[in-house]
Point group: C2
Chain length 230, copies 2
């Protein structure tokens, strides 16, 4: 029997690569996306396209009312998305941080996985994110793995969960090279924090800067659809 | 400044007691309940009454689509709620187990707490629940505490979260005595897995058995409203 895994799929570049890695590693993929009041909900259209292209067995979009709590530029209309490459400055938790986001996402992934009889979750956290987002760091991921193993049926049956972070030690260019080698079509993905309704990237936010620089460094033509010429 | 805490409030006996303890300990209480497709949604009416009576500063009900995943008698219409005191047999994870429920609840409590600038969460897990539910055990709670400390701003500012489990070592009768000493009105609470629309308890499910036995053992008249005479 093929092993099942839940893949956290944002519709961005990293998680699309993660899905391809899960497929390469022989997992049956159950892709999970969240609507959490993010302004860039064209991400979810991208997630649908990526899930289909990536051969996910199933794709669910979980509607999560996190925006009710505010406190992040990604969910709070009153806060502007910062522009410029330095917006995610090293060592400072950026305003685009959603409180406990990966903790909530991983917990819901675990809940779905538990009903599927799965104990594998893929998440596309990577070294680019480490500095600013505590919930992308290896020590957090490992603490979560331990917590979910203790908090579900595995506590009694001796099983172990695995939280796969195949991008953990990769930079953006390496992620792109890996994905291209696995056949990922990055034109389907949206990374921009501020994409328009058609999913075209702003080209100016920290995420756009990182992504464009990644394609440049990888020596691979950037297939991103931009709202304006950059 | 008074310290804020998020209190997980189901509307049952345990969490009502927890709220009273948080108040006793000087916290400003932010009560959080979940609608997760549970059949006993009269619990939420109870939660509203309990939050108000218990002096919560704010009460939010978070709509969580867990029922979409099925797999538990508490959320799945196709599964019957088991009757009889032995329904939650020792050492067997009961059919009323909701996959990774406390993990999901605690994660969302942490997300809210983070936006409130709070690092304290109260949850009413207790020794009665230990045998069947892995996500009620101390080792799970402590692993979660570590995970949330590593996954939020405290990872960088050196702060520590605290997950308060004031009922951890108490049996049902002791919980009731504690709550009565703190002025909890248990007639407002609903513990039954299968309450009717008016919040009257079935009197037959495992939760009803435990609760009734608790009042008997505490020597306190049972104020529970039952659907039929027991």
């Amino acid at each position: 029997m093929t092993k099942k895994a839940v893949i956290l799929l944002s519709g961005g570049l990293d998680s699309a690569t993660c899905l391809a890695v899960a497929k390469r590693d022989g997992f049956d993929s159950y892709a999970l996306s969240f609507f959490y009041g993010q302004r860039h909900d064209s991400e979810l259209d991208a997630a649908r396209r990526v899930a289909q292209a990536g051969g996910a067995r199933e794709h669910r979009i979980f509607d999560l009312g996190l925006s009710a709590w505010g406190g992040s530029a990604l969910t709070d209309e009153a806060l502007a998305v910062p522009k410029g490459a330095s917006a995610d400055a090293e060592g400072i938790i950026p305003i685009t941080y959603v409180p406990a986001r990966n903790l909530v996402f991983l917990s819901l992934a675990a809940a779905w996985a538990e009903t599927l009889g799965a104990h594998d979750i893929f998440i596309g956290v990577n070294s680019v994110d480490y500095s600013g987002y505590p919930d992308c760091r290896p020590e957090f991921i490992d603490a979560f793995r331990r917590t979910v193993t203790l908090g579900t049926r595995t506590a009694d049956d001796g099983g172990e969960w695995e939280i796969h972070t195949p991008l953990q030690h990769l930079g953006k260019a390496e992620i792109i090279r890996l994905g291209v080698s696995l056949g990922v079509d990055y034109s389907l993905t949206v990374s921009c924090y501020d994409a328009d309704r058609e999913g075209r990237a702003c080209g100016d936010c920290a995420s756009c800067h990182l992504r464009r620089e990644g394609f440049r460094a990888a020596g691979i033509p950037d297939p991103t659809r931009y709202a304006a010429r950059h």
